[in-house]
């Protein structure tokens, strides 16, 4: 019994002053994923990787905007979104104070991105930034001038139209020539 009191004396006060002074977390702490809107291209890699469906990327109701949405209440802080993001738009931060007062919608973070409409059918299929990003990547990929021009028209066609075009070409006996 007395021994325990001696131990108390030896180590003194060990509690942190938190919340009156900040609590320092470890260097590689996995806190709340921080979202940088300006870097997001709407590729939905994070949404696919997220095991708990905390991140969703989908078109809004009238299909005018691509909505990136993060529900902190569902997040398990595994950091898979951080791993897969090609532009570093989502990174785990050191933030761990996530409580909200009564209003659960405060846990939801949202980003609206401009949609790219298909040049063939006119339906929205992706984000404008993603198309721009793909072109940027291609232009750095050491392609020929002509090929790049082709790609420019190609990237703004939606997957459905690409499929129908391929099928139409194929059944008509046209060969696709890639130079």
């Amino acid at each position: 019994m007395m021994k325990l009191l001696d131990i108390s004396k030896k180590y003194g006060e060990i509690t942190h002053k938190y919340p009156f002074e900040p609590y320092k977390v470890a260097e590689n702490f996995r806190g709340k994923p921080a979202y940088i809107y300006d870097l997001c291209i709407g590729c939905a890699a994070c949404g696919v990787a997220c095991p708990s469906n905390a991140i969703t990327v989908q078109l809004n109701e009238n299909k005018s905007k691509l909505i990136w949405e993060f529900d902190c209440g569902r997040c398990i802080f595994c950091g898979r979104c951080d791993e897969v993001c090609p532009t570093g738009a989502i990174k785990l931060s050191e933030e761990f104070e996530l409580a909200v007062k009564f209003d659960k919608s405060a846990m939801i973070q949202r980003g609206e991105l401009e949609v790219q409409c298909c040049s063939e059918c006119g339906k929205p299929f992706s984000a404008k930034r993603l198309v721009k990003y793909s072109l940027e990547c291609l232009s750095k990929a050491n392609l020929g001038e002509k090929r790049l021009e082709e790609a420019k028209s190609y990237v703004s066609v939606c997957p459905t139209c690409k499929k129908t075009a391929t099928v139409a070409n194929f059944t008509a006996g046209k060969e696709m020539v890639i130079e």
Binding site: S8, A26, N28, F29, I76
Partner: protein, 579 residues
């Protein structure tokens, strides 16, 4: 090869229809339905097996039958010195039977091997398979108002999102507690809800005066249906994260067990460095879990001073987890094929520093606790788990090691890096709370040494192999991990399209519960919470007491405030209108 000896011996007893090998140390023998009890009993008692898990499975789409798998860990009875199977012959033997969907009946093994009781009760709840001859046929997992003919784990039973209508509180059927005969026996319920208990469980203690004569309990208030969830919509990437959330304390052990079951089913070997770091993380988990439990064992007996000191040290182990995995709990690290996060030299150096602090300070506080005679008197001789009861019910972890049985998965079936690490299995004779806490203290020390050895021995390899694997439908395998509370066993049968067909997750405490009844007997009500705590599952307090007078058949519920008011003023006894 391993296991052949046991299969041969079993073959002389009963007729074996088919033998299949899942892994180096895992073999399944298909036997006739009527031979099932004898086959399991023979392996359990005559060949020295312990029941690891039992898996009922709906295989109607595969072979038009239901199947039962009794997985036995063959390691020797361990009841006396030398009663143990040679280290290189230890293995898992699974006894499989097929049950026709028309009859749904199988002969119960429980009368011969008591350890099967919970598994066979669960088989009825989940699949509607009836164990003929099972002495205790009450519900186990599902709530009492669950519809009678709905068996959730049957493949055609229900969508995983379906929730049957709840009955109104007063309409709910009464759970039939096993009540001992005799006059003057008082029921004392503990639980099911208490703010400080991490799991709700309802314990019905039958007391004569202050002494507990017998006890019965109802658990699974928090049954979450994870197995159903995983079968329906998860892929292997998500499953590891779901498995982690089985438990708030030993989550990492569940993640490893689950992922390794999937890896073993396709014979995937992970890099040595990943193996070592998996061990490091699971040992960190053991550090904080054992510190938590020793702390709580002090707290339940009123020793708050020691409790605070132990939790102060526990904070270092949480720091260690934060350093190694990036979160205060060791979550989100395991994926199929290896790990997601490596350790840098700096992190290892810092970890060693923290380990040193933990090691010295734990010793200091433990010495002080051991010197405290009042504390020792509360621990010694309380909640004794008899060695023979332990043999019959296959408990795991510190619970069985405190009864002098040397059973540790890390030692019996070394997995991952444990083949290269040296450590002593902590075994203490006595079977009381003190013995169990002593085991935990000894394991704290061995954990520290295991982590150090891992740091020293781990090679510089990759931490993940390219996950180019093809799952083979209908392959199944067993994985086992020694979690802080004992052996966790996961069984996975793979389905098509990267999904699981059946996932059976058996947490350590599942095997520890059935023998708790014997541990209660003969102790006082004041020790009930301590006994439950020493199992390391959850503990409950007498926040709300129902007093039943057996003679006048009246009952009254006393609230915490009633009791408090009465004990402060000693006026207006809440018992008086009962008399």
């Amino acid at each position: 090869m391993k296991c052949d000896k046991f299969i041969e011996a079993l073959g002389q007893r009963v007729k074996i229809l088919e033998v299949t090998r899942q892994y180096e140390d895992q073999v399944t023998a298909l036997v006739e339905l009527n031979d099932l009890p004898e086959a399991v009993r023979f392996l359990y008692y005559d060949m020295g097996g312990y029941l690891s898990t039992m898996i009922p499975n709906d295989e109607r789409s595969i072979n038009k039958h239901y199947a039962l798998y009794y997985a036995l860990s063959m390691e020797g009875g361990k009841m006396f010195e030398g009663d143990e199977i040679a280290q290189d012959e230890k293995c898992f033997v699974t006894v499989k039977v097929l049950i026709s969907p028309e009859s749904l009946v199988f002969p119960s093994v429980t009368p011969l091997v008591p350890a099967c009781v919970w598994y066979e009760r669960e088989a009825y709840d989940m699949f509607g398979l009836i164990a003929e001859g099972l002495p205790d046929k009450r519900r186990l997992v599902l709530s009492d108002d669950w519809p009678d003919n709905l068996f959730p784990l049957r493949k055609d039973a229900m969508d995983y999102r379906y929730r049957p209508d709840m009955k109104e509180h007063y309409m709910e059927p009464e759970y039939d507690f096993l009540r001992p005969e005799g006059s003057g026996i008082i029921d004392v319920p503990l639980g099911p809800l208490h703010i400080t208990a991490d799991e709700p469980g309802h314990f019905r203690l039958y007391c004569d005066g202050d002494t507990i004569i017998d006890a019965d309990y109802r658990l699974f208030y928090q049954h979450r249906g994870m197995e159903k969830l995983a079968e329906n919509r998860m892929n292997y990437d998500q499953m590891g994260y779901l498995a982690e959330r089985v438990c708030g304390i030993c989550g990492y052990a569940h993640a490893i067990a689950c992922i390794e079951a999937a890896e073993k089913a396709i014979n995937l070997e992970i890099p040595a460095r990943a193996q070592a770091i998996r061990i490091v993380c699971s040992e960190i988990e053991r550090l904080h879990s054992h510190l938590l439990n020793i702390g709580l064992a002090c707290e339940v007996t009123g020793n708050y001073n020691a409790f605070m000191h132990i939790f102060r040290i526990r904070e270092y182990s949480m720091k260690l987890a934060e350093l190694v995995t990036g979160g205060r709990k060791t979550y989100g690290n395991v994926v199929m094929g290896g790990l997601r996060r490596d350790m840098t030299g700096h992190e290892i150096k810092e970890s060693l520093r923290i380990l040193h602090i933990i090691e010295t300070q734990v010793e200091e506080v433990w010495d002080a606790v051991m010197d405290d005679q009042r504390q020792m008197k509360r621990w010694k001789g309380v909640g004794i788990l008899d060695k023979q009861v332990a043999r019959d019910f296959s408990p795991v972890g510190p619970n069985i090691r405190g009864s002098g049985i040397k059973r540790d998965t890390r030692y019996d079936h070394p997995y991952d890096f444990f083949k290269q690490v040296k450590f002593d299995v902590a075994v203490v004779e006595g079977g009381d709370v003190f013995a169990r806490e002593m085991v935990r203290y000894m394991e704290l020390k061995s954990s520290v040494s295991i982590i150090r050895q891992c740091f020293e021995l781990m090679p510089q390899t990759a931490i993940i192999v390219d996950p180019k694997f093809h799952v083979k439908p209908e392959n199944y395998s067993l994985a086992y991990v020694e979690a802080p509370r004992g052996e966790n066993v996961h069984w996975i049968m793979q389905g098509s399209a990267q999904k699981v067909y059946r996932w059976r997750c058996r947490a350590a405490t599942y095997n520890n519960w059935p023998s708790l009844r014997f541990q209660f007997r003969g102790n006082t009500i004041a020790d009930a919470a301590l006994i439950v705590c020493s199992l390391d599952p959850c503990y409950s307090c007498t926040e709300r007491v129902t007093v039943v007078d057996v003679r006048s058949k009246k009952s009254k519920i006393l609230t915490h405030n009633d009791l408090k008011a009465f004990s402060q003023t000693l006026k207006n006894s809440p018992m008086k209108d009962l008399k």
